[in-house]
């Protein structure tokens, strides 16, 4: 009974950690530009798929991983430079539509340039399950937790200590004031896309050995990361991580105890409930709009 519960909890926390990374990506771009980047899930897909294909081309895994992250980051920067920047000054709705277009475009390119098959990626360090109090956990899950913890700490350090991180926070708080004190807000926007692509691709690579990857995994992973970001409070870093874990755990519990067919619906039911009852999420501050 308890072993079963623990098993669901562990698998929930594993995917939840990946959702948290995706949600962090949403939050960073949202803070820099108030844009909801619907292409976030495609970064996750690109990370996993590029690694698989680079390994198939004969590269050793560590090299393939680094290259895949680089490819994704470059695509993220290009997305900002070629699609978001030319439309600056347009409202939020057109920018959201652009990112939706970008996500479909990236998915289409992946489908043509790579393929439409499901791919398994070998786990980083073997696949002998580890027993914990009657439940089992894959070594790869530990990599996912570890990956999220390291990324979370690096981000915390970046935003709390690094000069450029502070500039990004200043831009999130008030873009005009940030510009007046000499922050290059265009660079901030560009970097926010690069950073989000980095987080997304890392999540995709860490998760691929557990869940398989294909050209269209980005839709669901992206949307669930988005649910996590809303649940935590859009733009709130720790909130994104907590939101991701809650969505992941709720999903695993729902699949285990209620209905595995409706597993994918759980994140979206959460999003509707959050919007109805606490639209600012768990940690988001109530905002008032200046007119």
């Amino acid at each position: 009974m308890f072993a079963e519960f623990l098993q669901f909890l562990l698998s929930g926390v594993t995917v939840g950690a990946a959702y948290g990374l995706v949600a962090l990506g949403f939050s960073i771009i949202y803070n820099a530009s108030h844009v909801i980047n619907f292409a976030q899930g495609e970064f996750v897909m690109l990370g996993g798929m590029s690694t698989v294909f680079l390994m198939a081309a004969g590269l050793p895994m560590p090299v393939a991983v680094v290259l895949a992250v680089l490819v994704t980051v470059v695509l993220g920067l290009l997305l900002e430079k070629l699609a978001i920047e030319p439309a600056r000054g347009a409202g939020v709705v057109p920018l959201i539509i652009i990112t939706i277009g970008a996500s479909i475009f990236l998915r289409g390119v992946a489908q043509v340039a790579m393929d439409r098959e499901f791919h398994a990626m070998p786990p980083f360090t073997g696949d002998a399950p580890i027993m914990i109090a009657g439940a089992t956990i894959l070594p790869q899950s530990l990599w996912v937790f570890g990956g999220m913890a390291v990324m979370g700490m690096l981000l915390w350090y970046f935003f709390a200590r690094a000069r450029f991180g502070k500039a990004m926070l200043a831009t999130a708080y008030n873009p005009l004031a940030a510009r007046l004190i000499g922050v290059n807000t265009r660079l901030v926007l560009l970097c926010s896309f690069g950073l989000s692509a980095l987080l997304g691709s890392v999540a995709g690579i860490l998760l691929a050995p557990i869940t398989f990857t294909s050209y269209d995994v980005g839709i669901m992973l992206g949307l669930k990361g988005f649910c996590a970001a809303i649940l935590g409070g859009m733009g709130h870093g720790a909130g994104a991580v907590v939101g991701g874990l809650i969505v992941g755990i709720a999903e695993a519990m729902g699949a285990g105890y209620i209905s595995s067919e409706y597993k994918d619906a759980i994140a979206f039911i959460i999003i509707l409930l959050v919007l109805f009852f606490m639209p600012n999420g768990l940690f988001g501050k109530r905002t008032t709009e200046r007119v």
Binding site: I36, A83, P86, A87, A90, V92, V93, P94, I96, I97, I98, I100, G101, A102, S103, I104, F105, L106, R107, G108, V109, Q111, V112, I219, L223, F226, C227, I230, E261, Y262, D264, A265, F268, I269, I271, L272, L275, F276, P279, E289, V291
Partner: protein, 326 residues
């Protein structure tokens, strides 16, 4: 031509409607066989949904990322209520529209009181939930395989075949466009334009902005549901393929390409993006790339969309080449 008549013809509510009616009436001359009729009917059904969706995007300034879900609910209401419960098709269609209207109201009422783009997120969630339900409840819906739908009976006559349905969908499209144009020209439309311009200003002027946004959302959802019911009876078949997230994005693309806040733009956008994949057969793999590019390029280079941009260019040409004003 007298000035009054000229002005009347230039008014979208008379001239535009007459033009659209003429296009619908003449088009069959260029449709050599049932396949072409089928594409035209598909374009017409999408256009009906897009005219409704355009009210929401273009006039209430909100996006719905789940409109395919409402179309699907209409289609499946018609299918399930007639097949499983033996309802009359018209009763099933009405019940579907009512149900969708109530659902849209219940979702939008709490959300549209907030400022911002929460509706996009809620409709996205709702659309995906609808698609999952339709795929899962195979006992009623046939699951991923879909189910057959009986034909629509009208005064004891069975409505069947592309040629008949062409005129039904054509008439429904004209009616929807007429409804949309009248709504925009009514006090509701004026309130909506005020909301789109500046929501706080509209509120200060006494416009209950949330009320109007909810109203438009419900109207557009009901239109989508009715179009879904019509489509189900025409095809005689429903399947979850057209209920998913990508179809919702396709509908938004149609509105954006044709021109947000332009009723005829929605029709043009729907027609182009329905015909385009037919022209590109053999290139299905590139469909995603094409849709993505069209969305991005339209918003970046022609943010007002095809139809409004075309009219601006045409008017400028006329003004620069035309005779001095009388």
């Amino acid at each position: 031509m007298s000035q009054a008549l000229k002005r009347k013809l230039a008014d979208p509510r008379t001239g535009g409607l007459l033009g659209l009616a003429a296009v619908i009436a003449v088009l069959p001359l260029f449709l050599p066989n049932n396949f072409y009729y089928d594409v035209a009917i598909g374009a017409g059904l999408s256009a009906i949904v897009c005219v409704g969706l355009n009210l929401l995007i273009g006039y209430a300034g909100q996006i719905s990322l789940g409109h395919a879900g409402f179309v699907g609910l209409g289609a499946y209401s018609s299918a399930v209520l007639t097949v499983e419960f033996g309802w009359h098709p018209l009763a099933a269609m009405t019940a579907g529209a009512l149900g969708v209207g109530i659902l849209a109201f219940l979702v939008a009422r709490p959300i549209l009181r907030l400022r911002g783009h929460y509706l996009a997120m809620a409709t996205l969630g709702l659309g995906i939930i609808i698609s999952i339900v339709v795929n899962t409840e195979a006992e009623y819906t046939g699951g991923p395989d879909g189910m057959t739908v009986p034909s629509l009976m009208f005064f004891g006559r069975e409505l069947y075949g592309e040629a008949v349905w062409y005129w039904i969908v054509g008439a429904a499209l004209l009616f929807t466009v007429w409804l949309s144009l009248n709504l925009i020209a009514s006090p509701v439309g004026r309130a909506l334009r005020a909301v789109h311009g500046s929501e706080p200003a509209a509120e200060i002027a006494g416009v209950d902005t949330a009320h109007y946004k909810v109203l438009v959302f419900v109207i557009s959802a009901v239109i989508a549901s009715l179009a879904g019911s019509l489509g189900a009876h025409y095809a005689g078949f429903v399947s979850p393929a057209n209920v998913g997230f990508f179809r919702s994005i396709e509908l938004v693309t149609m509105v954006v390409l044709g021109g947000m806040a332009s009723t005829y733009g929605a029709v043009v956008g729907a027609a182009i993006l329905t015909v385009l994949p037919q022209l590109l057969t053999g290139l299905e793999d590139y469909e995603h790339i094409a849709f993505g590019l069209i969305l991005m390029l339209t918003v970046i280079f022609m943010p007002r969309g095809l139809v409004p941009s075309f009219f601006t260019i045409a008017r400028n040409r006329l003004a620069s080449a035309g005779a001095p004003p009388p």
